[in-house]
Symmetry: C2
Subunit: 96 residues, 2 copies
């Protein structure tokens, strides 16, 4: 569960904003990049880090590459955070 890559990926505000944008569905690299004043290669760099951290996945459709949140990994992240907290979640609580 690459915890280190995950937290390092989340440490950058640009990358957190990318994740936020992906909240309402997948978007192409270009559509995402539009919302930043950062060069395309720099954006690509961020996509790559998010991908390595398994926070997003990529799918090519024609000329575009579409990115989407990997929501299952966010569940893992919540688990890690709760573990840092030492929260002991009962089975009942986990499933509801």
């Amino acid at each position: 569960m690459g915890t280190d890559l995950m937290f390092k990926a989340l440490a950058d505000p640009t990358r957190r904003k990318i994740l936020h944008i992906l909240n309402d569905g997948e978007k192409s690299a270009g559509q995402i990049a539009e919302q930043f004043s950062i060069s395309a290669p720099s954006m690509s760099h961020h996509f790559n880090i998010l991908k390595q951290a398994d926070l997003i996945y990529a799918r090519r459709d024609g000329q575009q590459i579409y990115y989407a949140l990997n929501t299952t990994v966010f569940q893992d992240l919540v688990t890690v955070v709760l573990d840092l907290l030492g929260a002991h979640i009962s089975e009942r609580e986990k499933s509801e």
Copy 2:
């Protein structure tokens, strides 16, 4: 809610281990440092970053400085993560 400082603080594995150690109650700087092969000043640096991120707080007792988790900020962290996920938590769910 210093989100950026919080994630940056969590990006380092040494700091995450410190938080883990603090799970079972407050400990002095020295007691924590024992469990690492890192110089005391470096440890102090990490404590400072965790403190600025509001993830821990410090209390002096004689010669020792005792650190403890600031658990309320972890709750905020979970909220931020869930928000990145786009989870829409109802008021009822929040309060239980």
